[in-house]
């Protein structure tokens, strides 16, 4: 059953030039995008910079609204994990406050606050002592664990992961990806996984949509895409990766 669905999403951004802000044309960020994400799966969205991946993620979360088209979400419990744990965490907040903010904002979940925070800290494998520290006291990988804890603590059913490991070293990437998989299994979460990196997409995703210039050019099972790409752009992407194994 689809937990998230969108049909014919169109989103144009107007480009302005000069201080008189004369309209200088439009960028077709999304140009008729439709997809369905099944409950419990990891749906991958891959493409190069500027293809509209992030815009689509934001529209599915309701952060921005499309010019036309419809979004159907079967759950209200949605969350996001972003690329850069250096800017997505408030430097002036302690980890305790970063993680609890979402819970406090949510009605009726103020009970056993500390207990829940400690539990989620355990899930992402950060030590209890982390609670009273600030983001700058952590490494990039640890910060991404904090971002994951902040998302998971509200018990979401759908998480948009927007390039969650792109800023990390490859050994740390692997740790974080494994953690995301583990959390998905434990809490039955559906992921929309956005990345420019096909290697990461292959490791994570059940189904994959390849985007180019605001359109989905190929949308199939992960295995099919990686063993027998059909669209020329998918083939080009796959042949571009330098590989050793």
């Amino acid at each position: 059953m689809a937990i998230v669905e969108c049909r014919d999403i169109i989103k144009y951004f107007s480009v302005q030039r000069g201080y008189l802000k004369k309209g200088a044309g439009v960028v077709k960020a999304l140009d008729g995008v439709s997809l369905e994400i099944e409950e419990g799966e990891t749906f991958g969205l891959v493409g190069e910079s500027g293809c509209g991946k992030t815009t689509l993620g934001k529209i599915l979360l309701g952060i921005i609204s499309p010019d036309s088209g419809e979004v159907l979400l079967k759950t209200k419990e949605k969350q996001a994990i972003f690329q850069d744990p250096y800017s997505s965490l408030d430097p002036k907040m302690k980890v305790r406050d970063i993680i609890s903010e979402g819970l406090i904002l949510k009605k009726g979940s103020k009970t056993r606050l500390l207990e829940r925070i400690e539990k989620v800290l355990d899930v992402v494998r950060l030590p209890k002592g982390s609670l009273n520290k600030y983001p700058h006291q952590f490494s990039g990988g640890e910060r991404q664990r904090i971002a994951i804890a902040r998302a998971v603590v509200t018990e979401p059913e759908f998480i948009v992961c927007d390039e969650p490991v792109s800023n990390l070293d490859v050994t740390i990437q692997l740790q974080i990806l494994k953690l995301l998989k583990e959390i998905q299994e434990k809490f039955r979460i559906t992921y929309l996984f956005i990345s420019h990196d096909l290697r990461v997409i292959k490791f994570m995703c059940d189904r994959v949509a390849v985007m180019k210039d605001g359109k989905i050019v190929e949308n199939r099972g992960s295995k099919e895409i990686f063993t027998g790409p059909v669209h020329p752009y998918t083939k080009l992407l796959l042949s571009s990766i330098p590989r050793i194994f």
Binding site: D169, P242, I244
Partner: protein, 264 residues
């Protein structure tokens, strides 16, 4: 004979918490026409090693010990004005983002001819322009004459990197240092730039120090590989040897991660 020989290089940073040994006893050689790949994760000291060779390290860093022999000249003992004659001419550096290293207020043509006037002591503008156009052509810029009069912001990321490579080649360097030259680019553009670098290394018979965090790129480009971690080279050897039979536990771990995230 080796073009570059680095002996026991140590670079220290002054930090609030004390001293950081960012490069901690690094040694390697690069032969003529050889490409040495320096691979490691962020903070391992790769870039600082490159900057030390150019003598362009940040102000709060200090070269505490070591020798950097370019042919037989110890660059570390060389006075600054002599170094200026080597930097950008005998040894050239291409950064991760040429967009940042290009000056936004001058045209590409201006910046290219400036490099020629400085190092080749050319005075003839027409001749300088012709050489610049020839090099833009060599890096496969589609319309060299237009690009010559463009400002950096008018170019795409891939085109800027091509210009950066063209500038580095202008004075026929013997050693080219490439510091993550494709990291900021999309994979399809990255593949094009790597093809270009292959072609250039072949054509100019140039020695290369290729720095990257991406083992896939290093495996594609390098003859020999040095794996760096915490300011030290933990393992160095022929590429195939390291890929098929890594000895250091860190290299093993790194290659296992790369393997797990490989798409085949």
């Amino acid at each position: 004979m080796s073009v570059l020989k680095v002996n026991d290089l140590r670079v220290h940073f002054r930090a609030s918490a004390g001293m950081v040994k960012a490069v901690d006893g690094v040694a390697f050689e690069i032969e003529k026409g050889e490409c040495l790949g320096l691979v490691g994760e962020s903070g391992s000291g790769k870039t600082l090693t490159a900057l030390s060779i150019m003598k362009l390290i940040p102000e709060n860093a200090k070269i505490a010990a070591g020798e950097i022999l370019f042919h037989d000249i110890n660059l570390l003992a060389l006075p600054n004005d002599h170094m200026r004659g080597i930097r950008g001419s005998k040894i050239a550096l291409v950064f991760q983002e040429s967009g940042v290293s290009l000056d936004p207020v001058f045209t590409i043509g201006h910046q290219m001819t400036e490099a020629l006037f400085t190092h080749r002591r050319l005075v003839n503008r027409k001749e300088a322009k012709e050489i610049a156009l020839e090099y833009l052509n060599r890096v496969h810029i589609p319309d060299p004459l237009k690009t010559f009069y463009d400002y950096p912001h008018q170019l795409s990321g891939g085109a800027k990197q091509r210009v950066g490579i063209a500038i580095s080649l202008l004075n026929s360097p013997e050693l080219l240092i490439l510091d993550e030259p494709t990291t900021a680019l999309d994979v399809t553009i990255q593949a094009q730039i790597l093809d270009l670098l292959d072609e250039i290394i072949e054509r100019h018979d140039i020695s290369v120090l290729f720095i990257s965090h991406d083992f896939g790129i290093i495996a594609r480009m390098a003859d020999r590989v040095a794996v760096m971690r915490n300011g030290k080279i933990v393992e160095m050897g022929m590429k195939n040897e390291i890929l098929s039979n890594p000895k250091d536990p860190y290299t093993v771990n790194l290659l296992e991660s790369v393997k797990a995230l490989s798409w085949r």
